[in-house]
């Protein structure tokens, strides 16, 4: 087991190296000159000295490999650069907004699992009935509806039908936990709809697959009540597959976070990324992209490892 973990963690390193190379290359591909973009809105525009100073500050007078080495060195020391706009360290800005993302993501996944597993199980147990057909159609429809449309309509419904609906505000959890939760419930629920349909489908498929296996026949023939067979035996074995699909869906969730934060005006990393794109604040764009990609691969690895712990067959 320890060897398995070591191998998997080590396999992450070349990927992260490649990710950093790609993000750096994107920055280098920005059309036009970064200094021109930065100086564009500045009073010092046209001031050659200021431009030269800036170039030196940004290491633009050095070659690309040198710049990459310096940039990567900074990353490894936790220095993601400084924002062009606010002048603050990028990592600090990201970490300041991280709690919003963590809360949204956690609530969304929790809601999706709490709803998805029972619904999926129901669909499997009632296979080929109207209930099953309805649930299956609902899940196909669910992942065909754009989440940012649902979010937009939720905001619209809020303003039209329920003027007091607690949306489009944000209070930090540390400030007022109860108010924070009431404000986060609706955005989290909308976000959970991005992953719910696949969790339902996966649970259904996995339960059906397990129901066919020999151990179910054994459990039934030794006289266990059906309820116990389903909940204690089948569901427990199906959950590994559900765990897996949840891991894969983290990517969808991260994409969804960006849109959810934009629509519900929540101060998370997604909004930070969008704001910095509008202001062409490249250190923040690259920093946030790198941060989210790293978080994504790390979570995926954690899910894989958890899978290995729960299911010894995976370890090989």
């Amino acid at each position: 087991m320890r060897r398995y973990i070591a191998v998997r963690v080590a396999s992450l390193l070349p990927i992260l190296f490649g990710v950093s190379l790609l993000v750096f290359a994107m920055q280098a591909l920005v059309p036009g000159d970064i200094v021109d973009i930065m100086m564009g809105g500045d009073q010092a525009f046209g001031d050659r000295n200021a431009e030269a100073r800036l170039r030196q500050q940004l290491n633009l007078d050095r070659s690309a490999p040198e710049r990459y080495a310096l940039w990567l060195g900074g990353m490894l020391r936790g220095d993601l650069g400084t924002s062009f706009v606010s002048g603050k360290p990028v990592l600090g800005e990201i970490l300041r907004r991280l709690p919003v993302n963590l809360e949204l993501a956690f609530l969304a996944i929790a809601m999706a699992l709490c709803l998805g597993i029972p619904i999926g199980t129901l669909s499997a147990v009632r296979r080929d009935t109207w209930t099953d057909a309805g649930i299956r159609f609902g899940s196909v429809l669910g992942y065909s509806v754009p989440n940012f449309w649902v979010a937009t309509l939720t905001v619209l419904a809020g303003s039209r039908l329920w003027p007091g609906m607690p949306i489009l505000q944000h209070v930090a959890f540390t400030e007022d936990p109860w108010r924070n939760l009431t404000l986060m419930v609706i955005p989290s629920f909308v976000l959970s709809l991005t992953v719910l349909p696949l969790i339902v489908r996966m649970t259904r498929a996995s339960v059906l697959e397990n129901l066919r296996l020999d151990y179910v026949r054994t459990a039934r023939s030794k006289g266990l009540p059906e309820r116990r067979v389903i909940y204690r035996h089948v569901l427990a074995n199906s959950l590994i597959a559900v765990l897996n699909v949840t891991g894969v869906q983290i990517g969808v969730l991260i994409g969804g976070l960006v849109l959810t934060e934009e629509i519900f005006i929540l101060p998370g990393i997604g909004r930070l990324l969008l704001e910095s794109i509008q202001k062409r604040d490249f250190p923040v764009i690259t920093g946030a992209t790198l941060f989210l990609a790293t978080a994504f691969v790390t979570i995926n690895l954690a899910v894989d490892l958890l899978h290995g712990v729960l299911d010894p067959r995976v370890r090989r």
Partner: protein, 307 residues
């Protein structure tokens, strides 16, 4: 990086990869049999119908549109009438015409991006699976790096650096989809390569290129087609999301995502403006999803039992 569960309905990559097991030098599917079987599945037929409506609307938009999609009139926020079937928007532009031209952008971007990604990713996967060894290692490491980004994030990063335009949208989505096709084709190639007809072809003196194109490629096409259908639907979604964020086709050109985004400012006045473009996106995505489901059921008998 992302782990996949073999046999899961939710994982088209794994599900379609299994198709590669279908051996035989001939095409593993016959067009007529498939169309009959798909037709038999009502949901797939509904999906095909929806997708066709969107496609026809997109292709014929210049001729079907009752008005110029960017021409402003004094008739602002008009309700549906005989002149403007779906009403007009905040600038008095005809909503139906804008939806049709939005379909054009959506279809152009998704088909171009998925086609390019299938071409590039397929080539990468074919080479990686056929040559194995160092080539495989190198190519798949590159693919792993692209896989390390959530799809929307990668596309977002590309348009953020290069700027929003039709070409960059296609480029962004292509880049995000290359890894999926590489993996599908590589997996299929690895197993098709074991077939006797590949050995036979080699024994007859065929070169690598010929074996890859004539013996292996026809046998890995089925999973690619299924994967492409699903990716069309997600590409529609990504295009709409990027345009919604203002990073897609620039105004006044119509795109479903930007129409929805603009409507947010006026939706208390006229909710219909926010409802219509979202409905169009849903219709298109649902169409390709349902069709893809049917296609996979037909092309992958292994999963048929789970229906």
């Amino acid at each position: 990086m992302a782990s996949s569960t073999p046999g899961s309905v939710a994982d088209p990559v794994a599900a379609t990869a299994a198709l590669a097991g279908t051996p035989g030098p001939a095409r593993p599917w016959g067009g007529r049999r498939i169309s009959r079987q798909i037709w038999r599945r009502k949901t797939a037929a509904v999906g095909l119908a929806l997708a066709t409506v969107v496609l026809v609307g997109a292709v014929l938009a210049p001729w079907l549109s009752p008005a110029d999609p960017v021409a402003m009139t004094a008739q602002r926020f008009a309700t549906p009438s005989a002149q403007a079937w779906l009403g007009t928007d905040q600038f008095g532009r005809d909503l139906l015409s804008r939806l049709l031209h939005g379909a054009r952008v959506s279809m152009l971007v998704s088909f171009a991006a998925v086609g390019l990604a299938a071409l590039i990713g397929g080539t990468v996967g074919l080479c990686a699976g056929y040559f194995e060894g160092r080539v495989d290692l190198l190519l798949m490491r590159g693919v792993d790096v692209l896989m390390a980004f959530p799809t929307l994030l990668l596309a977002l990063a590309v348009v953020a650096t290069l700027g929003g335009s039709l070409r960059n949208l296609i480029l962004a989505i292509t880049l995000a989809y290359i890894p999926i096709f590489s993996r599908v084709v590589r997996g299929s190639t690895l197993s098709v390569k074991q077939s006797e007809f590949v050995d036979a072809s080699r024994a007859l003196g065929a070169r690598d290129g010929r074996i890859m194109l004539r013996a292996i490629l026809p046998n890995v096409l089925a999973p690619v087609i299924v994967q492409a259908t699903f990716n069309l639907s997600t590409a529609i979604m990504i295009e709409a999301a990027l345009s919604f964020l203002g990073l897609g086709v620039q105004p006044p050109a119509a795109s479903w995502g930007s129409m929805l985004s603009e409507a947010r400012n006026f939706m208390e006045l006229d909710p219909w403006l926010a409802v219509a473009p979202g409905g169009a996106i849903t219709m298109a995505v649902l169409g390709f999803n349902l069709f893809g489901d049917g296609l996979r059921d037909v092309l992958d008998p292994r999963l048929a039992g789970e229906r």
